[in-house]
């Protein structure tokens, strides 16, 4: 393996890890930090009517194309009614039916959404509208008005702008006055505008919906004018002539028909209520992928049982601790016992916290080391010797726990969480180095191990990092890439600079 193949493999790892990360973070909306709450809106349409005795069929137009919003869930509350959802021209229909009902009835349709600017719905291109049949003198007024408007515009956009300017003029021309006389309410006005645009063969439709702002028990239905310019739909506010929708406008329905239709009932009243709530981002992702049947979450850690998740939240940080160790060993040049011992010690520190962990660890190791030197005189073979050290470590742990408890020190109890095998191995290796290379080297390596463990503990304990790795385990591929690259690092270790300083060549 030469440098090039290492670079290529590292590059592939990093790219695939980062690609998956960005896909999940920005496409699927996995939260980057642990505490991101999302604002979630619940829009409830309640349909109230008086039922005559007999069968009831109720229809409610419900949203289908909702650019800028993602639907988390939708449901209906309607005791005794059969319910289904159908696609219909202009959107979807919620249908309720019951064989017999009497008195006041209430049907609810509820949809939970959150703002998601990345959602864009593809809409169809409509046919050219027929010239509408209007009675005289409206017909002549419309023809003249649209002729003037057409002459003073270049394309659909400017045509609509010109039309809206004339219509909204405080001192409108006689034709406008005639056409809009007595038309109150934005729906009626919008309908007239659509008729006028049809004279110019421009397809248009009303866009109706509610503004998602605060709590609204009675949210008004607002109407916007949607015009097709041959390429895509453009929304206009028919009062201000401004293009585009407010970002908090939730489009409910496109079309001029009544939103609700009840056969067999009277005094129909449709009311919209809007409620805002905060939901944990992960729940949002979970609900949405459940709604969409997406596999992204099923194949993430969140699909695992909670207990297993807890194990992995620790386990996934081990590579991060190992990365810290690689940096401290190969780039800084600290000496440690064994390759992964410091990382394992760092994991033990999670249970005891840093200061208590360092103190307990030093205490155990030095006591164990003293006894190990005693054992040295007995000249035991390797495996029985290691076992003896292990047993002594367990006894020492027990003694420290009992003593600390008698003294009222709670942290002393957590010594039991230290992996005793790790401590026994540390003692053994330390004593071997002590014998072979002297106390200085042994203590140096001991302090090095403790330093690396403390660093690894601090890095592994960063909540933000833990969340990031747990939510995006693919980032481990990036860690792998970094480790692969540092495996070919041939520069000096930081501690070699003072070591070889006598040899430095200054230019």
């Amino acid at each position: 393996m030469n440098n090039r193949s290492v670079h290529i493999i590292a590059f592939l790892c990093a790219v695939s890890g980062l690609a998956l990360f960005f896909y999940k973070a920005y496409r699927l909306g996995f939260p980057l930090t642990a505490d991101t709450d999302r604002t979630v809106w619940t829009i409830e349409a309640s349909l109230r009517f008086d039922a005559r005795p007999g069968p009831i069929k109720a229809e409610l137009k419900v949203p289908a194309l909702t650019s800028g919003f993602t639907t988390l869930s939708e449901n209906s509350v309607s005791g005794g009614y059969g319910f289904n959802l159908d696609y219909a021209d202009g959107g979807r229909l919620a249908r309720w039916a019951v064989r017999s009902a009497d008195g006041e009835q209430r049907l609810y349709y509820r949809v939970v959404v959150y703002a998601d600017p990345s959602v864009e719905e593809v809409d169809t291109t409509p046919p050219f509208p027929d010239i509408p049949a209007l009675d005289e003198p409206l017909r002549t007024a419309a023809t003249v008005l649209m002729q003037e408007v057409r002459e003073q515009s270049a394309d659909t956009d400017t045509l609509v702008a010109e039309l809206l300017t004339r219509v909204n003029d405080p001192t409108p021309g006689p034709n406008v006055e005639l056409l809009f006389d007595g038309l109150s309410g934005s729906l009626r006005r919008t309908q007239r505008l659509i008729e006028l645009l049809a004279f110019a063969r421009v397809p248009a439709r009303p866009l109706r919906g509610v503004l998602l702002a605060d709590e609204q028990r009675h949210a008004p239905v607002r109407t916007y004018l949607e015009v097709h310019n041959g390429v895509n739909w453009t929304v206009y506010n028919s009062r201000t002539a401004r293009q585009g929708l407010p970002s908090n406008f939730y489009p409910w329905w496109r079309g001029t028909d009544a939103l609700a239709d009840v056969q067999g009932g009277s005094a129909v009243d449709l009311n919209f209520a809007v409620r805002r709530s905060q939901l944990d981002s992960l729940d949002v992702v979970a609900q949405r992928s459940a709604a969409q049947g997406s596999a992204a979450l099923n194949f993430s850690l969140f699909g695992l049982p909670i207990q297993t998740q807890a194990v992995y939240s620790v386990l996934l940080m081990v590579p991060i601790g190992a990365l810290v160790m690689v940096v401290l060993r190969n780039f800084v040049g600290l000496q440690t016992f064994g390759t992964f011992m410091p990382v394992l010690i760092a994991i033990a520190f999670r249970e005891t916290d840093l200061l208590a962990g360092v103190i307990l660890f030093s205490l155990l190791t030095s006591l164990g080391l003293a006894i190990r030197f005693g054992l040295e005189k007995l000249r035991l073979l390797l495996v029985p010797r290691l076992t003896a050290v292990l047993i002594i470590v367990v006894i020492l742990m027990l003694a420290i726990s009992i003593l600390a408890h008698r003294l009222g020190l709670e942290t002393g109890l957590s010594v039991a969480l230290f992996p005793m095998v790790i401590i026994a191995m540390t003692i053994e290796r330390m004593s071997v180095i002590w014998e072979e290379r002297g106390a200085t080297d042994a203590i140096k390596a001991g302090v090095g191990s403790l330093l690396v463990a403390a660093f690894a503990y601090l890095v592994m304990g960063m909540d933000a990092l833990e969340h990031l790795i747990f939510t995006f385990p693919e980032l481990l591929l990036v860690v792998l890439a970094i480790v692969l690259l540092s495996g070919r690092y041939t520069g000096y270790r930081l501690l070699e600079l003072p070591r070889f300083s006598a040899l430095e060549k200054r230019r």
């Binding site: 070919r488 520069g491 000096y492 070591r499 070889f500 040899l503």
Partner: protein, 329 residues
């Protein structure tokens, strides 16, 4: 890739990372390690190649072998017992004579035959082997040390370490025991390492720990300017070490016997880097000179010729360093 240490880079100092990734990994395939790690194997290979080594009297590979030891040693008064896979001088016994039924150790203590056999059986069961696996105990000729280094060493055994790159000697030092090293020639135990000029065999300055020193800490005699005897032979043996081990990055450790001259003690597949401090020079320019020589010349199968080539290469390197120093002055 380098983040820091540019001044060291200009001096051609070899760092641990680069030693491991750039030299040991490509030049020293792992399958060759047993040739230098197992002292029995090393000795057998060395003898085959005609290299001078301390004579092997006896090898105990099992407890049964250990029992045959006294009979095998009856004709030798002094000998050394050591583990084949030991390191750092652990488990080594030096016997310099007999006193009745007892063996007399170099320290003057007497050791019974039972105690000696127990020691050998401990070695065989792996007590001194770092891996803990079964080991073999070697009994070999006890080197009669030359007195040449007496002025600059304290007790113990001074030895000569030569770094051999692709078969060509590249850098050398003498390891001088001190009081704090307890007579051992191991640098991490406190021995002083003195650089040796490859061309002349004269000692240069020295390193103690990571510091440069000029006098021996115990005898206070100047370390530099001492002639290492048998220098030609030492260079030749080290070059031959490559033919024996086939390791491209090799450390050869030798001692000088009063009667037999230079003997090879052991070889090392990952020799340390402090030799650079002892010599006050980086290894990389020397490796580069050898590489350059090899790029235009075929590898010479004769170790003596390779030693001579190294000398002239290093002579040229010395000259150019002196030349550039003169220029800056």
């Amino acid at each position: 890739m380098r983040f820091w240490g540019f001044a060291l880079g200009r001096a051609g100092v070899l760092g641990i990372n680069e030693r491991n990734a750039g030299y040991i990994m490509p030049l020293n395939p792992r399958r060759l390690y047993p040739r230098v790690d197992d002292k029995v194997k090393t000795k057998a290979l060395a003898r085959e190649a005609g290299m001078a080594v301390p004579e092997l009297f006896f090898v105990a590979r099992s407890q049964a072998d250990a029992l045959r030891l006294p009979a095998a040693l009856s004709s030798h008064a002094s000998f050394v017992v050591k583990p084949a896979n030991g390191s750092g001088g652990d488990g080594i016994l030096v016997v310099d004579g007999r006193y009745g039924e007892h063996y007399r150790l170099i320290s003057g203590d007497l050791m019974s035959e039972t105690a000696l056999l127990h020691h050998v059986s401990n070695i065989v069961s792996g007590q001194y082997s770092l891996t803990g696996g079964p080991d073999a105990a070697l009994v070999e000729y006890r080197v009669q040390f030359d007195q040449v280094f007496d002025a600059i060493s304290f007790q113990g055994v001074p030895d000569v370490r030569i770094i051999v790159y692709k078969g060509y000697p590249a850098m050398a030092m003498v390891r001088l025991p001190t009081r704090s090293s307890g007579g051992k020639a191991n640098l991490h135990q406190g021995a002083v390492g003195a650089g040796v000029d490859i061309v002349t065999g004269l000692t240069l300055g020295a390193v103690s720990g990571n510091e440069r020193v000029n006098v021996h800490p115990d005898t206070l005699n100047a370390i530099d300017g001492n002639q290492v005897p048998h220098w030609d032979k030492l260079l030749e043996i080290s070059a031959l070490g490559y033919d024996v081990s086939e390791l491209g990055y090799l450390g050869v450790d030798m001692v000088i016997d009063r009667d037999l001259g230079p003997l090879m003690l052991e070889m090392n597949a990952r020799p340390g880097l402090n030799i650079q401090i002892a010599n006050g020079a980086g290894l990389k320019p020397r490796f580069a000179a050898i590489d350059q020589h090899l790029s235009s010349n075929a590898f010479d199968p004769d170790p003596a010729t390779r030693a001579a080539v190294s000398r002239s290469l290093m002579q040229r390197l010395n000259d150019s360093v002196l030349g550039s120093a003169a220029k800056t002055a």
